[in-house]
């Protein structure tokens, strides 16, 4: 919610809008604000989850040998420069349910199956990022950020018998509330840095005070309304109240942190035309959110499940979903591999940026814990087994290793261990059966 004293005028900020996509301009911000970092001894940990849709071309994902010194398969090659930070975790599975695509995204961070809509409520479970956000959000203005590349405005191409809500998100605030993921960089920007239209601190303070009183007043009204309804009917109002309280909390946080210097950042104009530019811009915003410590928890869906996005820019003019039903056709296999690799390539640019950003005694990458993967294994089989998962970042505690887990290992077990590392111990997440040993490695 804050632009800074270094502020250039609104006109200047908007000067280049639309003229070009402001990718490198986001880099142009950077005043020195290392000062607000916590001490080197106790670095802030960040959690990031990057999800790719429609499964994976597994033969080109899984390293052929276990342990250290594995060679990077085709899809993972862009990440090779960051070998010490990478752990490939093979063999884990997701909980089975109906809806091969709905379950893939739903269970990814929740460990809970997707539920066919038989006329009753949407039903999922709280996701691990939200559990982390609840705790880390006490210290940041935003508890979490949910990002996507796809919009939500299309019909008839979600999983049969399931609301599109299941395939459009991996983040769930609770059992009943799937969280929308934002695909417009400009909106993400406004969520991070505000839309007040003024950089004058006193104007902004007055605005925050007004917002606080507005929210206070609707809370009262919603509580009144709630009393007129039966217990089941109150759920939706509960969502509304939670949302209002969350913003109230953020306003308090923004007021408390109002002396903090934040970067002057060029506002992105909108959604870029190509996947590459769009993804890069979202990754930039993600990095920026970490850097400014506006949030420590980000989830990013590089495609909704069943996405039919085409990738003409890498020579794949075909829609992703039908290609992923490859039926072992060599041409489709090759195209699917290209898409899978392209996603990793875009992700690796983000990893590189984190590696090059100072953070306390190390880099942002040192203090981040990134999960990259898909909600199904082999695309053609819509497999719930052998999910493609990798960890990147120093904060995973180890690196440069390929670990094969037994096929009884639920993916949710990994989340318990990751939450431990985020300092948010949880005993159970969906169908988890225990913690996953993530072995430490020397050299990191």
């Amino acid at each position: 919610m804050i632009l800074t004293q270094k502020a250039i005028s609104r006109r200047t900020v908007l000067r280049g809008v639309g003229a070009s996509l402001a990718l490198p301009l986001l880099d142009g911000m950077v005043p020195a604000f290392a000062a607000l970092r916590t001490t080197a001894a106790n670095p802030i940990r960040r959690l990031g989850v990057v999800y790719v849709p429609n499964g994976m071309m597994m033969p080109h994902w899984t390293p052929t040998s276990e342990g250290t010194g594995f060679s990077f398969p085709k899809i993972l090659q862009p990440l090779e420069p960051f070998r010490p930070y990478i752990q490939v975790l093979s063999g884990m599975h997701g909980v089975e349910s109906e809806g091969p695509h709905a379950r893939a995204s739903t269970r990814f961070l929740t460990g809970v199956p997707s539920k066919p809509d038989d006329g009753s409520d949407l039903r999922g479970g709280v996701s691990m990022d939200q559990l982390a956000g609840r705790v880390h959000g006490r210290e940041t203005q935003l508890a979490s950020l949910e990002l996507a590349l796809d919009g939500r405005d299309f019909a008839g191409s979600c999983d049969d018998g399931f609301s599109c809500a299941y395939t459009n998100t991996i983040a769930w605030a609770n059992e009943f509330t799937p969280l929308p993921m934002e695909n417009n960089p400009r909106v993400v920007f406004e969520r991070l840095f505000g839309d007040s239209g003024s950089t004058d601190p006193s104007v902004r303070q007055a605005r925050l005070a007004k917002d606080a009183s507005l929210l206070d007043s609707v809370t009262e009204r919603a509580a009144d309304l709630s009393r007129e309804l039966g217990p089941h009917d109150q759920a939706k109002l509960g969502q509304y109240l939670d949302a209002v309280r969350d913003i109230e909390r953020r306003i308090q946080m923004a007021e408390a942190q109002s002396d903090r210097e934040l970067p002057v950042v060029e506002q992105p104009a909108g959604i870029p035309g190509s996947v590459g530019e769009h993804a890069a811009l979202m990754f930039d915003l993600m990095a920026l959110a970490y850097e400014t410590d506006l949030t420590r928890v980000v989830t990013f869906m590089m495609g909704r499940e069943i996405t039919g996005r085409t990738y003409a820019e890498i020579g794949v003019p075909d829609a992703h979903h039908p290609i992923s039903h490859h039926q072992r056709d060599p041409e489709k296999l090759e195209k699917l591999t290209k898409i899978n690799q392209y996603h990793v390539q875009l992700f690796s640019a983000f990893v590189e940026r984190l590696a090059n950003t100072n953070d306390g005694d190390g880099s942002l990458l040192d203090h981040s814990m990134l999960v990259y993967g898909a909600g199904m294994g082999d695309s053609n089989a819509h497999a719930s087994t052998n999910l493609p998962i990798l960890l990147a970042g120093g904060a995973t505690g180890s690196g440069g290793r390929h670990v094969q887990y037994s096929k009884e290992t639920p993916l949710a077990n990994l989340h318990l261990s990751l939450l431990d590392k985020m300092g948010v111990p949880v005993d159970q997440l969906g169908h988890s059966t225990g913690r996953l040993p993530i072995e430490p490695l020397s050299g990191v």
Partner: protein
Amino acid sequence: MLRVPRRLRVPAFLVGSVVVMWGHVLPVNAQTADATEAQLLTSTIGRYCASCHNDRLRTADLSFDGVDLSQVGEHAELWEGVVSKLRTRAMPPVGRPRPPADTYDALAGWLEAEIDRVAVRAPDPGRTHAIHRLNRAEYANAVKDLLALDVDVDALLPADDFDEYGFDNNADVLTVSSALMDRYLSAARKIGRLALGETPPAPVTETYKVPILMVQDDRMGDDLPFGSRGGIGSRHYFPVDGEYDVQIRLHRNYVNYVRGMGSRHELEVRLDGVLVGTFGFGGDEPDGVQAPASYGGNQFGDPEWEEYMLFADANMRVRFPATAGLHVVGVSFVRRFTEPEGVLQPRQSVFAVAVNEMRDGNAAVEHVVVGGPYVSEGPGDTASRRAIFTCEADGDGGETEEACARAILKSLARRAYRRPVDERDLATLMDFYRSGRQDGSFDAGIQLALERVLISPDFLFRVVRDPADVPPETAYALDDIELASRLSFFLWSSGPDEELLRVAEQGRLHDPVVLEREARRMLADPKTTQLVQNFVGQWLYLRNLRSVVPDAITFPDFDENLRDAFRQETELFVDSLVREDRSVLDLLGADYTFVNERLAAHYGIPNVYGSHFRRVQLDAAQAERRGGIFGHGSLLTVTSYPNRTSPVLRGKWMLTNILGTPPPPPPADVPDLPERGEDGRAATVRARLERHRESPACSVCHAPMDPLGLALENYDAVGQWRLTGEAGLPIDASGQLPDGTAFLGPTGLRSLLMERREQFVGTLTEKLLAYALGRGPEYYDRPTIRAIAREADSNNYRWSSIIVGIVKSTPFRMRRSES
């Protein structure tokens, strides 16, 4: 879309009593279980069904052993599933002994009559959510009706998720998160500023882009003058009276040279059609060395020439005064009516457009930036301010001013909350008014109170409450105020207007005569365009058109003009059906459609010139290809892959949205669809699908699905008519359904669907009912749907007969109390 229940079970809910019932809304084939008839049916079930569905095998977890046909209505969920299988001839499976056709219909008809008989005695209206959030379109319409303000809602709010039936107004799926609340807060602030005409703290800019594949060779729409070419007409909201500017950027090629510099162009800027600036450029190349056409971009011309090519649009900026409110900013070229000399070149697309180094041809606009206000002369007199200020404040801060504020806020709140306001509502708003007034002006006070209105649960949610005295699980009638909102959101995707609200406040709306009169009055209002856009846009997947990307190599002719034309054709067509109250069957086949020159060329319809859409009468041959939605490029494109047609996608769409019998999802690991024919030679999709269907596991679903899609194989993936398909093999558009019905091409498909019109009308009614209620269809809605379809039958299936039928139906007027 009804599922077969997995086991024979007593429905969880049986209506105990009916609190309110009037009229005979549901005409019923009242029929009692005739003993001999029941016996015949029992034996039919025993003979054809119970060989698999018995206590021993329990196929699909279902047993008919000891079936009791005297209790059909009490087990409606199960029997509706059976009816659905019978009506679609889905059971017994192909290859097993089947009863004769008339036995199918007799059994299904008898079961339906039994279910309907019980339903009319004890109807179950279902239970909609108590809290129903406005979706994005509804929010925009509500703001427009409240404040006479057109907002760019796509920029203000995120899109909403679709439910499993494809609608984005399902109360269950419309959740609230803090990210969304954030947007509501921000939207309220922005809307408040615009509505009151607050001067922005600094000038702001808005960019209007023209996509690169939008060919600018013709007049670009009705907002631009006759005799113009290219450019864009943008509806821009000017926040205050004051000075603004428009800046134009032209299309360039990959080395940044402005396109079309070889000849002279005149570019005009107009505000609501009045000329405010003209720019001329091109056709004036300086002598000297020019950069060669190299496709490399690494050799430069003389500096003077480079400047000429690069900076033609550097000063294309014009400043002008404008009054506050919505105006059309038109930027377009003066059209030259000349024919180019030489060999006619094919139109360039994609890569060719981007690298074009030719300097003749048309210049084009890349984007237009409207900025301002640079000078503000106050809020002016806008439609919004006239809608808000029902009285005038004297500005002294005294009692009259307070009274005026009260009057304004009372009127705003009543319309925004869609109900009478009480003293508490008003007291809250007056607090915010006073707070805003204290720091600023009267306007600032109203503005802050308006923000409070726009984030209130009373505005953002439609609320229905169980009456205090109704026992649990009992059907009761909605109160008039709740019914008014249900009606207006169904027909207009917005809140009630003054008349509807007044009728509801007077407690007269539940009177069936009044309700029907209101529904018909509202249907005649232009606001029903929202029903067409929102319901039809989702039912026909029209909204997906925005995001389809046909492969540029396979379909070089596909451009943004065509994409836009596809959408307009279908919208205009369906709008005409509803507005003229024609039969819904006209969707399947009609003797007219709407085209402009671009679309007519695509369809091969001669003698249509210009970019304006007009209604064209189709002759018999044209009607076979383009009459009805199956001939619309929009539908044919959104049910295709980027580079080829998919009979499976088209067939599935047809089963789901026209016949109401969606196929089950495919198994996880489908066997290979062979890429080539049996003998290893190239094969058509048809031939390959035929081989696929040889596998019984595949044929169950594909046998009813593929033929429907294959009948449309003469339309390619962007809806153009063709005679040969893949590998240059001729198209065979014949098909045969599992029950032996054979048909050929779109014409055959059309007559097939006309024969099954009851199924189609039932499906449409079911979809429309789900949309009207904002919940998924349930088995207990079936009697209502059948009754509406029957009524509509005697009325030539007019749109109004179905829409009014829904409005008068039990699930629309009533609700079941909480259990």
